[in-house]
């Protein structure tokens, strides 16, 4: 009744709501397209425009694509009404990426708005302009940002700071320096608000450019309290990283506590770690965890876990050299001082960030400071409570003493969500002490009675953990758990509910864990006591006859494993197979401990044999195991009886339905036939050396190894407050702390580089003759070679077989210095030879002229043949061959990898260094990527001794090698990152020289730092990797391709879409004097060229759509293949086009690759460069 009334009340409420929706935008949301929007957009009145825009916004909100209104909306940017402007901006930002060309139309208005007297208008214009993400206008935006960074309005400067990451996101290598300069400028701003935004920009643009921070460190610390809370979070992180990079870790802090307390740490790890665990709350265990934590923070746990086996502390750089002191170091002191008040911030994220700093940097005795603020955060909303608890959990594990006095704060409340409850339980079990354990256990009892059985099971698990941490309470725990097990299993009615089982299983699991770790003997009194209590319990529960108990108690005169005995006795009433299996395991494992168990064993085995066929597979397997164990350790008098029973069980098992059971039965039967035979033998001559191998094996497998398996620390530690700590894996973009002392001061850096210069200054004079012609020749020659070898075998037509030589001749004889012209000329040669209507080579631009050089005849034949190709296999062959000839043979030489600036003349005293990725594959190691580096001396004086070397800081050499496992390090020797380049002896003014460089990037996204030495000075440079060159072409034909593709479905396949626009400009140029059909070809060629110029791939095939409409490109499909350099895993890429010739094409890029992360990154890269407009 009542609920019914509630429903009516609700609908009444709804009705009244309807009445009050008048005057809002409700009607716009409900029926956004009930009027025609287009005329409204063109209206003269702002209010009508507004309405139209709101309707569009409503459609966006509801997930409709309204990008077709783009041109009309863009016009309204010019409106004077701020509301219209805002709405247009909202629309623009939503669709700009989709309609880049139209978005360009708005740039002029933005430029105008940037000069507006109203700061709001300036700020909005800047935000939107930066937000539309077009490469073309990036230089304009950069200028605008630079201007706005000096704006008198704080708000505009703040927007300038937030615009920087957007610019950076476009990956404009050439502007990086300018962007970083603006960041530096904004960090110096007087307004705290701007500093906060600048900090966020710094963190996303150049998080490791610590020199920017170093200059302002003190001032940043001082402004920290005034910065907005969001800025505070980021800034705290930046300052922490800076201090660690500059001064290293604090000697008195938790991170280094293991050094001071326990030096021979590595030994302890090897020797029995379970011993350390058994002694709870002692320093070694805790320092061990602290040690793991500090290492995880510095290296990231993934790296750390991978080398868990052979840890060498010295490699960490944690040794004395880069340790500082919180008391003597001013920078550390200031950081701790300025973050202390933030511990009481209103914003919990700030509190957590500040707590993280203290956790890492503060001396151990001062860490207490963070406890109360953290506990106070538990008063906040449940979402943040969860995050805070996740972090407290780590703190509590490493330093239980911090939180142990506050155990009451972690008592569970019925208002908490399940996740929070489990976290609290875990924390409770890790902070329990002997003084608090009794209250905690009392609480636990209440949790066990909770209606949520998952919680009850978790509580039981927590009890097990407590008992393992505090061995003195183990027996209390055991008794409690036993009682639980007995009462749970007696709850037969409840056991029918699946939920009850989880509790029981967990109870048995905890019992098992406790028993495992107990020493195999107890004091008598304890056991007696145990008996007593069990007796009482039994009597109370009325489960067991008193007579039996008395008998047992009287009989017991030595250690009895009563727990097991009782559990075994209750077997009958336990339903959960997992629980049964565990009890049986315990019985088998401890069958010869104490007289009581061994006495009951024959009966129990008989009982199990009788029940065998009714059991679940899990239990059956345990029964077989237990049988063998029992037999191996049986007394002589029981032997014959047991043998019969076990034989019976094995016979049953051999004809079981499940092959697992059958197999095990057979194996064990074999074992037994040996062992049992030997048993008599051994009895006769006890000390004999003669032991059958099988027997040893059996003993080894089933023997009494009650040793606790050394528990590997399954914890993964990430920096406090990070997302990774919550999801327990390194999220993309997660960066561990920088290497301690990796930052050297400017003056230090100079002296250091000087020193290195003298060391590496081995003179190896090379001739200064080679210039770019030679080098490009060598490169293109190799390229060509590769191509001919690939394709001639596939039977391309005779004309192309001569290409290689022809091309080489052409390029040799050619004296033109422009590389691209050179290629186009050579390109023209084969084409014109084939071509009946040989056209004149257009030498102004090889790319433009290319389309005209194509044989129209072959093209036409290909186009005509293609429709038939689906039916006839020979036709397919033919069609593909002609395709291959068109797109690969010729494109191969058009490929021109993009060139990046490594050093510009302004920074390098006139030396400019450019590099481009080469498609060559290193012969030394698959880890290496080949680069072609060109040096140009644009100064007026000659330069000498130009050489690259690996970056080496004073302590850094060890740590930089960290990632390389020891074996690899040996094989690579000292040149792990860089295969030493031939030094350039001298470089005259104006001269250009090329060199091949082979480098190993540690990561396919992170830049590699190198040191470029020339003229005796050193310059740190960054090589940015291009994931497109971490692969090499993998030649295959279309059949292999589709076969491979079908093997990599599902999670190995990812698709992304982008817009391809390169062809438009060219189509427009040549529209007048070429036939429509050429457009297909041109687009194919453009696409393939773009792909091959940006990634080292093999073009497998190009498939044409069979479309009636010649202008419709939809269905055109290009396939590429490559294999990852480092592990030879193939990557298959399929490009499918959609759209018409003269418009932006929608390209869907599909990647099939086993290496998911690499594949995704490569896919992203492809999408980015495909969408990039042609320069």
């Amino acid at each position: 009744m009542l609920t019914h009334f509630g429903a009516t009340a609700e609908s009444l409420g709804k009705a009244s709501t309807m009445a009050f929706r008048i005057g809002t935008d409700a009607h716009l949301y409900d029926d956004p397209d009930d009027v025609s929007i287009a005329p409204l957009l063109d209206s003269k009145f702002d209010s009508e425009k507004c309405e139209a825009l709101k309707r569009l916004l409503a459609l966006i909100a509801q997930g409709f694509d309204v990008s077709n209104y783009f041109p009309q909306v863009v016009k309204n940017v010019a409106s004077q009404s701020l509301e219209v402007k805002k709405l247009v901006y909202l629309y623009l930002l939503h669709y700009a990426e989709k309609r880049p060309n139209e978005a360009l139309l708005s740039i002029n208005y933005f430029q105008k708005d940037l000069g507006d007297p109203n700061p709001l208008v300036r700020a909005w214009a800047l935000r939107t302009m930066a937000g539309i993400r077009l490469h073309v206008i990036a230089p304009l935006v950069l200028v605008a940002v630079g201007k706005c960074a000096r704006d008198p309005s704080v708000y505009v400067r703040k927007c300038a700071a937030t615009a920087l990451p957007k610019l950076h996101d476009l990956r404009l290598e050439e502007h990086t320096a300018a962007i970083e300069e603006i960041v530096g400028m904004l960090l110096k701003d007087n307004s705290p608000g701007v500093v906060g935004a600048a900090a966020a920009a710094f963190a996303s643009i150049c998080p490791n450019n610590f020199s920017l921070i170093g200059r302002n460190y003190k001032r940043l610390c001082e402004t920290l309290p005034d910065v907005e809370e969001w800025g505070q979070i980021v800034l705290i992180g930046i300052l922490l990283r800076y201090v660690i990079a500059k001064h290293g870790l604090v000697g008195e802090s938790l991170m280094l506590s293991s050094d001071t307390l326990e030096k021979p740490n590595t030994e302890k790890e090897d020797s029995e770690p379970h011993l350390a665990i058994r002694k709870p709350l002692t320093a070694p265990t805790l320092t061990y965890i602290a040690d793991i934590i500090s290492r995880s923070y510095l290296e990231g746990p993934d790296k750390y876990l991978s080398q868990l086996g052979n840890v060498n502390r010295d490699s960490l750089g944690l040794d004395g050299s880069c340790v500082t002191s919180a008391k003597s170091n001013d920078d550390v002191k200031i950081l701790l001082q300025c973050t202390s008040p933030l511990l009481w911030s209103f914003n919990s994220a700030v509190v957590l960030a500040a707590a993280g700093v203290h956790w890492i940097m503060a001396p151990k005795e001062d860490i207490l400071k963070i406890v109360k603020p953290l506990l106070f955060l538990l008063r906040s909303s449940s979402s943040s409570k969860y995050v805070v608890l996740c972090n407290i959990q780590v703190f509590a594990k490493a330093m239980p003493s911090l939180f142990s006095p506050y155990f009451e704060d972690f008592f569970i409340s019925s208002f908490d969500s399940y996740q929070i409850k489990t976290l609290k339980l875990e924390i409770l079990s890790s902070i329990a002490t002997y003084s608090s354990i009794s209250s905690i256990f009392q609480e636990f009892q209440d949790y066990i009675r909770d209606p949520d059985r998952r919680l009850a099971a978790d509580t039981v698990a927590a009890m097990g953990l407590c008992a393992q941490r505090l061995p003195d309470v183990a027996k209390t725990c055991l008794e409690g758990l036993l009682f639980l097990a007995l009462s749970e299993s007696s709850n037969r009615d409840a056991a029918s509910l699946g939920e009850e089982e989880i509790v029981l299983v967990q109870v048995i699991k905890s019992i098992m864990a406790i028993i495992k770790q107990d020493p195999p003997s107890h004091e008598k009194a304890l056991v007696l006591h145990l008996f007593d209590e069990i007796g009482k319990l039994y009597a109370m529960a009325g489960i067991v006859s008193k007579r039996f108990l008395v008998m047992e108690i009287v009989k017991h005169d030595e250690i009895g494993w009563m727990v097991i005995v009782h559990l075994v006795r209750r077997l009958d009433s336990m339903c959960a197979p997992a629980a049964r299996a565990m009890v049986i395991w315990m019985m088998g494992e401890y069958c010869n401990i104490g007289s009581l168990i061994s006495k009951m064993i024959p009966t129990v085995v008989k009982y199990l044999a009788r029940r065998f066929t009714l059991e679940a597979v899990e239990t059956k397997l345990q029964i077989i195991n237990a049988c063998v164990k029992v037999l191996l350790r049986a007394n002589v008098e029981d032997m014959s009886e047991l043998q019969i029973t076990v034989g019976y069980v094995l016979e049953l098992a051999k004809s079981d339905l499940k092959y697992d059971v059958r197999d095990r039965a057979r194996v064990l039967k074999n074992f037994l036939s040996h062992c049992v035979g030997l048993y008599d033998l051994e009895k006769v001559k006890d000390q004999t050396e003669f032991k059958d191998l099988t027997y040893v094996l059996a003993e080894y497998i089933f023997g009494g190894q009650t040793k606790v398996p050394s528990e590997p620390f399954s914890y993964r530690f990430y920096l406090p407050g990070s997302l990774s700590q919550i999801v327990l894996h390194a999220a993309p973009g997660y960066e561990p702390l920088p290497e301690p002392c990796s930052l050297v001061d400017d003056e230090d850096g100079h002296s250091l580089s000087h020193m290195q210069g003298t060391i590496t200054g081995g003179v190896r004079v090379t001739d200064s003759e080679p210039n770019n012609i030679d080098d490009s020749d060598a490169m293109s020659g190799s390229l060509d070679e590769e191509n001919t070898s690939d394709y001639s075998s596939r039977g391309s037509d005779s004309g192309s077989s001569g290409d290689g030589g022809n091309y080489n001749n052409a390029s040799d004889s050619d004296e033109n210095e422009e590389a691209d012209t050179l290629i186009s000329l050579s390109d023209g040669a084969p084409a014109s030879r084939n071509n009946t209507e040989a056209s004149v080579v257009n030498s102004s631009s090889g790319l433009m002229g290319f389309g005209e050089l194509m044989s129209k005849k072959s093209l036409e034949s290909w186009l005509n043949e293609n429709p038939g190709s689906t039916q006839n296999s020979s036709d397919v062959d033919h069609g593909q061959r002609s395709l291959a000839r068109i797109s690969i043979k010729d494109i191969g030489q058009l490929v021109k990898p993009k060139s990046y600036t490594l050093l510009d003349p302004a920074n390098g005293n006139g030396l400019s260094v450019d590099y481009r990725f080469s498609s060559e594959v290193s012969s030394i190691s698959p880890q290496l990527v080949c680069l072609q580096v060109s040096f140009r001396n644009s100064s007026t004086e000659p330069m000498s001794n130009i050489l690259f070397s690996e970056e080496e800081s004073n302590q850094g050499s060890d740590s930089s090698d960290k990632s390389v496992s020891s074996s690899e390090r040996i094989s690579h020797g000292e040149v792990a990152k860089l295969v030493s380049m031939e030094e350039i002896g001298s470089l005259d003014p104006g001269q250009t020289t090329n060199r091949m460089l082979q480098v190993r990037f540690e990561h396919h996204l992170l830049p590699l730092k190198l040191v470029l030495s020339f003229n005796g000075r050193k310059q740190a440079v960054k090589l940015r990797p291009d994931i497109g060159y971490f692969i090499k072409p993998l030649p295959m034909d279309i059949e292999t391709f589709s076969k491979k593709e079908s093997q990599l479905p599902g999670m190995f396949e990812y698709v992304r879409r982008c817009i391809f626009t390169d062809h438009i400009s060219q189509l427009n140029v040549k529209e007048d004097h070429s036939m429509m059909k050429d457009n297909f070809l041109l687009i194919c060629e453009k696409l393939a060229l773009k792909m091959l110029s940006n990634a080292n791939l093999f073009l497998v095939s190009v498939e044409m759509p069979v479309a009636a409409n010649l202008n419709d490109l939809s269905g055109l499909c290009l396939r590429f293949s490559g294999e990852i350099l480092s592990n030879s895993i193939p990557c298959l890429i399929t490009l499918t086009l959609k759209g018409t010739c003269c418009e932006p094409l929608e390209v869907s890029v599909k990647m099939n690759c086993e290496e998911t992360v690499f594949g995704l990154n490569l896919l992203n890269r492809i999408v980015i460069f495909l969408a990039e407009p042609f320069p």
Partner: protein, 409 residues
């Protein structure tokens, strides 16, 4: 940085999507999310951070509306969860609190309010977050930039057809070092009210417990496991300009680390009793005043979750209304305890067939409110005001209400 924010209704419908960066997030992620909610049940609703195959999702649920934010890269989760989404949802709530007149009809934030004011929500989101990083979150500034809807402006908009809610000028506070206050604030009234709001958290054990762990019977009748008070000072000021206010307490020693106060007793008692036999369970709950705080206790409610093995219930009370909801939540609204009788609720619960006795016991969540009393005993001494042209009217008030007040049966 956050890439996208979705607002989902309680049926999983995407009401609004706002892309924050150039890296678009497809709304199919919402479908994935909702699938997970449906398959994994409500327990997922309380996990603030979820790792989906493509994105990390942060969720905050307010009034049935799920705020879902997506990111692909590392960022402080609390920044996203707590601060961003909460302040966002709080803000939307505040924004969408239409005039006071309407607030009686509308519950702060609901689906319709979001839909009705979607333009404002969009404008707000755009102003609050730029490129995934918070830009302006100070409510004071936002209010000036984007006018909250109110009844007057609505009527005006109907009459005049002018619907603009964007301000044409940049609020002065953006450049001030006190961003939470307008630079030239003027109030017609000159008064300031200080409320001391306290919340009492308590956990009380009620049932005689057999304690197998320490092997003795213990009667833990009414044992206070935990009892704490958490207080907040709320100030409602209508003072003009930028005055300095200093609040001092008469007995600051009560404060334990400016944190929480531990107490020995609670103002009211709740005595639940459950006895079960032969498939039925008899339940009775008594509520009464234990320590009279000197002021009336009102808004008393008792709420508990029926154990899953209960199939049907028949509950009645001698005072107040008992209501059993579909999700087996039973709530008993008492209000103020009458003079003449002690409120009690009793009834029987029918257990599932096969279950003889109840072996799990519900926890009773209690709510109450006491006006005019700060149970911690904390007293405000005085409020000093400096830098103010005329003497304002000062008002003080105290209030205690139940926080996490639970009684275990």
């Amino acid at each position: 940085m956050l890439q996208c924010i979705f607002l989902l209704s309680d049926s999983g419908e995407v009401m609004l999507e706002k892309q924050l960066t150039g890296h678009r997030v497809d709304r199919s992620i919402c479908a994935w999310f909702w699938d997970q909610i449906i398959t994994q049940g409500d327990s997922l609703k309380s996990v603030p951070v979820i790792a989906s195959p493509t994105h990390y999702l942060f969720q905050v649920v307010r009034e049935g509306i799920t705020f879902l934010a997506c990111t692909q890269v590392e960022m402080p989760p609390l920044m996203a969860v707590e601060c961003l989404l909460l302040s966002l949802s709080r803000h939307c709530e505040a924004m969408l609190w239409v005039a006071d007149v309407l607030s009686d009809y509308l519950d702060g934030l609901n689906e319709d309010l979001i839909k009705d004011n979607f333009v404002i929500v969009y404008e707000l989101l755009d102003e609050m977050i730029d490129n995934g990083i918070p830009l302006t979150t100070e409510p004071n500034i936002l209010r000036e930039m984007i006018a909250p809807p109110n009844i007057v402006s609505k009527v005006l908009s109907v009459v005049t057809g002018n619907t603009s809610n964007m301000s044409n000028t940049l609020p002065g506070a953006t450049s001030s070092c006190v961003p939470w206050r307008k630079t030239d604030l003027k109030h017609t009234s000159n008064d300031v009210y200080v409320d001391l709001v306290e919340e009492m958290d308590a956990t009380i054990n009620r049932f005689p417990v057999l304690n197998p762990l320490i092997f003795s019977f213990m009667l833990r009748d009414g044992t206070l496991v935990k009892c704490e008070i958490y207080g907040e000072v709320q100030v409602n000021s209508h003072l003009s300009g930028l005055p300095d206010l200093t609040l001092s307490f008469a007995n600051p020693s009560v404060l334990n680390d400016v944190r929480v106060k531990k107490l020995k007793n609670t103002p009211i008692y709740v005595k639940p009793q459950l006895t079960s036999d032969a498939g039925t369970c008899r339940i009775s709950v008594l509520v009464g005043i234990r320590n009279d705080p000197g002021k009336p206790i009102d808004s008393i409610t008792v709420q508990f979750q029926l154990p899953p093995c209960v199939t049907s219930s028949d509950l009645s009370s001698n005072y107040g209304a008992v209501n059993v909801l579909a999700d087996k939540t039973c709530s008993w609204t008492i209000g103020r305890i009458p003079k003449d009788k002690a409120p009690s609720m009793s009834g029987t619960l029918v257990l599932e067939t096969g279950v003889e006795r109840l072996h799990v016991f519900p926890t009773f969540q209690v709510g109450f409110r006491i006006m005019g009393v700060a149970l911690s005993g904390l007293k405000i001494d005085k409020l000093d005001l400096l830098n103010l042209p005329s003497r304002p009217y000062k008002g003080f008030r105290a209030l205690t209400r139940a926080g996490e007040f639970q009684v275990r049966s």
